[in-house]
């Protein structure tokens, strides 16, 4: 039923570069090569337009050892986000940030790791799929993560993104059944984003058992890098989940520090700590 909306690809669940008939995108190639070198992957999330120095934050987390960076394009109604990222989004919007302005500013980010954007589908739909995809590509962004665009509805955007060379990262959740997980992994580009727990983004005291379970299921379903996000809050949790996953996405823990005024330096320190945590493991 769900799968019918997504055309079946001719290769089963692993190694989609062959399945899609294209070479791996820049994000995937970059993450694969780092993984092949024995490195666990750390991907921090920074809300675009949060504070005047947000581009300095991006540079600081790159310098501190991020393997790629997610830039949040703030949306007025972020249903997948908890209080921290909601507040950051609202602050950025109140300061006049726009998705277009943030994407354009990324041209001067000047970092040597890939940049992905994370936003909600209405931002993309309003701009128009092709226009948004080509604008992202023009500004040096390599991937997009749209948490409210499930695989069944992703077709038109994902095709426009493929054409423009933008990798669409799909999300897998603890509630995703196995057959659906295959479809998600097949359609995902760049990496597979394993949602670590049932819930919105935010820091949690402990790593949920569901994080380990979904990471392991994704690893069985695909050879793409598998990164766990939602509820990964500190170096210890990052190390713990990296026993199974290829890496982590850390958003709220970083954004909270930014909301508290930690600035580029504080952001860099957190990423360095995460880096050290997963490197130790």
């Amino acid at each position: 039923m769900s799968a019918s909306a997504t055309p079946p690809l001719d290769q089963p669940g692993r190694g989609h570069p062959e399945a899609s008939g294209t070479v791996p995108g820049r994000l995937e190639a970059h993450l694969r090569s780092r993984r092949a070198a024995g490195r666990k992957l750390v991907v921090p999330y920074v809300t675009g337009g949060l504070g005047e120095d947000w581009l300095d934050v991006v540079r600081a987390v790159a310098a501190a050892g991020a393997d790629a960076i997610e830039i949040g394009l703030p949306f007025s109604d972020p249903v997948m986000d908890g209080p921290t990222i909601q507040e950051a989004s609202q602050r950025a919007l109140e300061a006049g940030a726009t998705p277009q302005g943030i994407v354009a500013a990324l041209r001067s980010a000047d970092v040597d790791v890939p940049i992905a954007v994370m936003t909600y589908y209405n931002i993309v739909a309003r701009a128009g799929h092709r226009r948004m995809a080509s604008e992202l590509a023009r500004c040096g962004v390599v991937a997009a993560i749209l948490p409210d665009l499930p695989v069944d509805e992703a077709g038109p955007w994902a095709e426009a993104a493929d054409e423009a060379g933008i990798e669409t990262v799909m999300l897998a959740a603890p509630t995703t059944p196995d057959d659906r997980l295959e479809v998600i992994c097949r359609r995902s580009r760049g990496f597979v984003y394993a949602v670590g727990m049932l819930g919105v983004t935010g820091e949690r005291r402990e790593l949920a058992a569901s994080a380990v379970a979904i990471a392991a299921r994704c690893k069985r379903a695909t050879d793409l890098p598998v990164l766990v996000g939602v509820g990964v809050s500190n170096a210890e949790q990052a190390r713990e989940i990296c026993a199974v996953a290829d890496g982590v996405v850390v958003g709220s823990a970083l954004v909270r520090r930014l909301l508290e005024g930690a600035g580029p330096e504080g952001a860099g320190e957190l990423v360095a700590a995460l880096r050290a945590g997963v490197d130790e493991g």
Binding site: S2, S76, D77, L93, P99, A127, P150, L198, G199
Partner: protein, 397 residues
Amino acid sequence: MSVHDEVPATLMGRPGGDGRFGEYGGRFVPESLVPACMELADAFESAWSDPAFRARLDGLLGSYAGRPTPVTECLRLSERLGVRVLLKREDLTHTGSHKINNVLGQALLAERMGKRRLVAETGAGQHGVASATAAALLGLECVVYMGAVDVERQSLNVFRMELLGAEVRTVLSGSRTLKDAVNEALRDWVASVETTHYCLGSVMGPHPYPYMVRQFQRVVGEEAREQCRVLLGGDDPDVVVACIGGGSNAAGTFAGFVDTRAELVGVEAAGGAALGNGLPGVVHGMRSQFLQDEAGQILEAHSISAGLDYPGIGPEHAHLAAIGRARYHAVGDAEVLDAFRLLAETEGIIPALEPAHAVAWLVRAAGSGELTPGTTVLLTMSGRGDKDVQQVKEMLG
């Protein structure tokens, strides 16, 4: 089953498997919720075609909610306006609005799926009160999200929900109204989906909600059609009108008349006119029309009516508008207050501010000659005005 069920209905039937009404609808939710939406779609189809489920629902609608509700012919208002006005009296149901039709259906469905906890959003508080009522009736836990602005202007409904054993959570994010209550209910559901049913109050959200809620509300239109035929000597009304926030009472009403010659009219609040001033977008799980800026940020709706204070509209209405089967108009707060008074004075019926919007359009259309004298109009009086009396008193000063 009436003979009219034999009429092949291409409109307001079952949407496509992906929940589409034309280009609108769909299921745009975080992956965590997709399996639950699929389970719900299957459970609804199975329940809806199960005579035992339908009998239990019909039993509750009759013995508990007070159905069928009457159609009242408004003699004095008709004389004043020069058109023949019939009201479908959803204001006479238990809890005072059409919302009870939907929540009884969804609460029974939740029970059938083994989910013992309901979450709901509410604007004016009517859906929250109805949800709390159904939860109390079936012994379910109930949490209602309500924007801080609405908690303020509908404090009596907050107390009602608490009396009924529900927990009301005040939403402080965003515009602090209905749209943000929906966001917060969705966030709750993302975390609690394995044990919780999201009891959505209107014909909006991801598939199957727009379809399912319309089916639970179509009893309004089906009853009204039969009642109109008795009153009108076998004829259907010329015009059928209902107010629209998300659009559930209108959808239920229209479903009964979509295959008749009646002209269908939906009335939005001027400050929340998603069809009048909106653009296509994807929010709250559905592709529909939304008030938004050029970047796609959703704008705040503004209305004296908390129940219509929503920047979007149900996807099936967007479709009915696109194909021209229904038309949609917007009325302003001042006209609504006049209509509120007019209905009270001429008919002894104090309407909720939401259906007072439909009355306001009727007054305008009759006055402008848009409705020719003698036109018969069926208007769904979706709720009673008790909840709004305090607010109206303050506004009329």
